[in-house]
């Protein structure tokens, strides 16, 4: 592997990792703050991708599709939170797993009814369709760089909200002590609904912006869900910083694994997870139990 190839793979790995971060950060927030294991989180990624496919078909513009699609995804998420998830806050994890697994089945089936079982592609927006030359015969697609840049922007925005705003304070307080937070007059149910909606928005956005590079197909959320859980476990449950580092590690490990050890590619990320857990059972940034 020469330097240019290495650079291409590194950029791919970072881009994939950043896209994963958007899904995993929602998963880790929902689990860390609300105590909910949301197996349906990957389905919101899929919903995002299908919304992008559908709305790009209608509007012929990915950016417009994203602008229209996020409110739709958040509305679906909020209805699900109010009707179903809100009933799970005081239940144990088995009930949560059963309900959210059922949600995967329902959402996947709904997807098939609405859009069928075919694979679809979403075209890269024209203005971002070019490539950046790396060497004389290696080029890198602009759209992938665009994905990375946007994801970094979203990550920075999330950090600002969590570290610097009153909502962020309430989210952190709720994560550390739910009872005390509500005894101070804060409606924790509303904070939970906001966190859930935020998580859904991030997952759907990830599916939308990733659609032009990943194609759109049934069950696409399931693989993302599993890998996002790996990211959350590596980073430490509840830690957004951990999800960020974990997602980059997984993105790079998966991408280089496919190139360097193609026969074992599917095992690389799990081996990485096992190593991290042997070293730090609570994950990289998790609080010690």
């Amino acid at each position: 592997m020469d330097l240019a190839q290495f650079l291409v793979q590194a950029l791919n790995g970072v881009q994939y990792g950043l896209l994963l971060f958007l899904v995993a950060s929602g998963l880790t927030l929902i689990f860390g703050i609300m105590g909910i294991i949301n197996l349906a989180h990957g389905a919101f990624y899929m919903i995002g991708a299908y919304l992008a496919y559908w709305l790009v078909g209608l509007t012929d513009n990915l950016f417009l599709a994203i602008l229209l699609g996020i409110p739709i995804a958040v509305a679906v998420g909020l209805v699900i939170e109010r009707l179903l998830i809100a009933r799970l806050y005081d239940r144990d994890h088995l009930d949560q797993v059963l309900l959210t697994y059922g949600l995967i089945l329902i959402l996947n089936e709904t997807q098939k009814i609405l859009w069928g079982s075919d694979f679809h592609g979403v075209p890269v927006p024209e203005m971002l369709a070019g490539s950046v030359p790396l060497t004389e015969n290696q080029a890198y697609p602009v759209y992938r760089l665009f994905i990375s840049a946007v994801c970094l922007g979203v990550a920075a925005g999330m950090w600002l909200v969590i570290a610097r705003t009153r909502l962020g304070m309430m989210i952190r307080a709720g994560a550390s002590n739910r009872e005390m937070t509500s005894a101070l007059g804060i409606n924790i149910g509303r904070v939970f609904a906001i966190v859930f909606a935020l998580g859904v928005a991030l997952a759907a956005f990830s599916g939308m912006i990733g659609a032009p590079v990943s194609s759109v197909y049934p069950g696409m959320g399931d693989r993302v869900l599993i890998i996002s859980f790996v990211v959350v476990v590596i980073g430490g449950i509840g830690s957004v910083k951990g999800a960020f580092i974990g997602a980059l590690l997984i993105g790079l490990a998966d991408t280089f694994g496919r190139v360097l050890v193609p026969d074992f590619a599917s095992m690389v990320i799990y081996a990485l997870m096992a190593l991290v857990l042997l070293w730090r059972p609570q994950g990289l940034f998790g609080r010690a139990p």
Binding site: A173, S176, N177
Partner: protein, 240 residues
């Protein structure tokens, strides 16, 4: 005196699962009044507090604030009606700075309230050590400073009733005295208090009224002065 009670709890029965902890507790707190809640460990003091705040809703009985029922309301609604808690163990958010701990629940006093607003400056005047550590994480403070932070945080919600559960527990004698003098200052500012503490002597001096719980029932309720004058009750219900 026919003034409306600020808080009235009547016939509270509260359970933890199958265990029947409160068996008909009555408690009245008038505006600005300081009530001491006494009793040995496990007699239901903290459970009474949790029932009032809606953290463990009573299964029977009712709680009213200014004569309006709040039984069964979620804790944030009850808190917003003017009740603030300084819990046992202080309940500091370790992942928030001192400033964030203080401001996260802050609410201005209602516009019709005659009381002066507890804004950040006023709270820091009451607790000077916190002013020097505003950007420190909450869990890095000493025990006494954490207690001040917990009390300051409660004051920032501009409560009419402040509930103090074991506020002096685990603190050095000198720090305890500081906390007690703040409790007096809070009382002088017109805020009603419900106090649970192991220091009976100081409680009898600070509180207007005392209630003793035994096995989830009220076994004594009366003026603190009367209780101070009756050592026989101390022996019977408090084991002192």
């Amino acid at each position: 005196m026919s003034q409306t009670a600020l808080l009235e709890a009547a016939g509270l029965h509260t359970y933890y699962g199958a265990s029947h902890v409160l068996r008909g507790v009555d408690l009245t707190i008038r505006p600005g009044e300081s009530v001491g809640l006494l009793g040995r460990n496990g007699m239901g003091k903290t459970t009474t507090i949790r029932s009032i705040l809606g953290l463990t809703p009573p299964r029977r009985g009712k709680v009213t604030l200014d004569g309006r029922p709040v039984t069964g309301a979620p804790p944030h609604t009850i808190a917003r009606r003017g009740v603030a808690l300084v819990p046992e163990g202080r309940g500091i958010f370790p992942n928030l700075t001192v400033r964030e701990n203080l401001t996260m629940g802050a609410r201005p006093a209602p516009p019709d309230s005659p009381a002066e607003d507890w804004a950040l400056d006023r709270v820091l005047t009451l607790f000077p050590p916190l002013g020097e550590r505003l950007d420190t994480w909450g869990n890095l403070l000493s025990g006494g400073q954490q207690q001040m932070l917990s009390m300051g945080r409660a004051l920032m919600t501009n409560p009419r009733l402040l509930i103090l559960d074991e506020a002096t527990e685990g603190l050095a004698p000198q720090v305890r005295n500081e906390i007690w003098s703040v409790v007096r200052a809070i009382k002088d500012a017109g805020i009603a208090t419900l106090i649970v503490d192991k220091d009976l002597k100081t409680m009898l001096r600070v509180c207007d009224h005392c209630v003793i719980l035994a096995k989830g029932q009220v076994v004594y309720a009366g003026p603190a002065s009367a209780l101070a004058a009756d050592p026989e009750i101390h022996v019977r219900f408090l084991g002192i």
